[in-house]
Symmetry: C2
Amino acid sequence: MAKEFFTKPFLAFLEEGKEKYLPHLSIDCVVFAFQDGKLKVLLSQFGKNGLAVLAGGFIGKEEDIDEAANRILEERTGLTDIFLQQFQAFGLAERRFELEILPELQKFGIPEDSAEWMMKRFITIGYYALVRAEETNPVPGPLTQTLIWSDIDDLPIMAMDHANIIDSARKLLAKEIGYQPVAQRLMPKNFTIPELQTLYETILGRSIDRGNFRKKVLKASILEKLDKQKTGGAHRAPQLYRFHPDHSDESFHGQMKMGF
Amino acid sequence: MAKEFFTKPFLAFLEEGKEKYLPHLSIDCVVFAFQDGKLKVLLSQFGKNGLAVLAGGFIGKEEDIDEAANRILEERTGLTDIFLQQFQAFGLAERRFELEILPELQKFGIPEDSAEWMMKRFITIGYYALVRAEETNPVPGPLTQTLIWSDIDDLPIMAMDHANIIDSARKLLAKEIGYQPVAQRLMPKNFTIPELQTLYETILGRSIDRGNFRKKVLKASILEKLDKQKTGGAHRAPQLYRFHPDHSDESFHGQMKMGF
DNA sequence: AAAGAAAGAGTATTTTTTACTCAAACTAAA
DNA sequence: TTTAGTTTGAGTAAAAAATACTCTTTCTTT
């Protein structure tokens, strides 16, 4: 990785940016996934062990902010129809890339004035997204060197206030999981109840009684039992389920308030 | 009211704006109060029966967005230390004052180019504020002709998407009232339990059992009984309470989840 | 074939919510 | 001064939800 990354597309991006995008405004997406029993976020990193940033971008002059967020996410993950929700704007006066990113660019010989517009103060609108890791195909963009799924509890050093943005998103997630779609979007198509429980436990940050979780989740009748069982496990084969495809989304918020 | 309103201060404001404020960005505050058993919002109206807008303003180039929101609110209400919280950015591509406000300005002979920067596309960051109506002293600003407390269920015609912004804020309020500070900020210093109940009922939009409400609110031990009783009422004199001054705010979120 | 381990199922207790009833206290009308 | 009307304050009983367990089943590994 290195010099050849910051070539034409990136320079072109910088030159065009001033014309195409609204000044002082950006979008940053906290893309969550659940993998190996851990909560992950999608990050792009400037080189191995380098500074990391969220999946971000800018807002076209004639583009809705939600449109922009979807475009940015599609560019990075290849996914359309993502669960994507705005959650907070971050707007401290001293929020600017300058200090951290400018040296990086200079290392690669980018002329300073090409990136001038990017060095201004930026107010960023934070979105959070829920994806299934196994369906995602991360694609580096013009500004992104390496894309990684990082354990949310073991983040690399983040640029600016990005660690703070992730933290806010995570707290929101814990609130929102009581209102459904979260689990649908993060779990694989088929899963066992104990697997679902670990999702809840990692998001809520505490353990839940096994029996009670099962009881509650079944009573909510949001799950559909499959014929198959999960084989290969070390012990008794657990039953596989999937979310009932009927009430695909909004239909029954609050049916499973998850007040454990 | 009329011509003399759009004079020096307003023109000066327009001229300066381009220099002082970030382009394409505004702040709009939904200021809630509870008065006569009704939920009210602070609006400024262009003339009697005219178009109404939220208490809004712009973000200084070196100003945090929270700072800006506080400044704007202080300018209008004279209050400092307001409960003020960002809740959502509104950013449709066609969000612009132009169509609705430009004609108003032209009526008053404002040169079109003075207001040019204001006619661009704006992304607005929505805040909601909670105030005690009786402590507020609304002050018209450079852009605001008349300030009124409007019943949220009987709004005048609102400019742009401002009705939508109010609606979002109200929905949020209903969610947040389960997490405390809301009632503290909206109720007068002293109040009776039935009065508190009507606040909950109007915010939640449904009726609550009298006895159960009282039981729950008392068990949360957030109230302090006063010696006085509320006199003058048509019937049995209800006991006066105030919020326990100790845990003034954050201290015990969630103690009163209000799951009616 | 037996041991270990997790899943599935069930029970019992406590807490919270919901739906009421009844007495007390005050005003206004008789 | 008494009485009717109305709202507050207080309490009870039943239903639902949350919590804390135990026991059985089923699978893998030894």
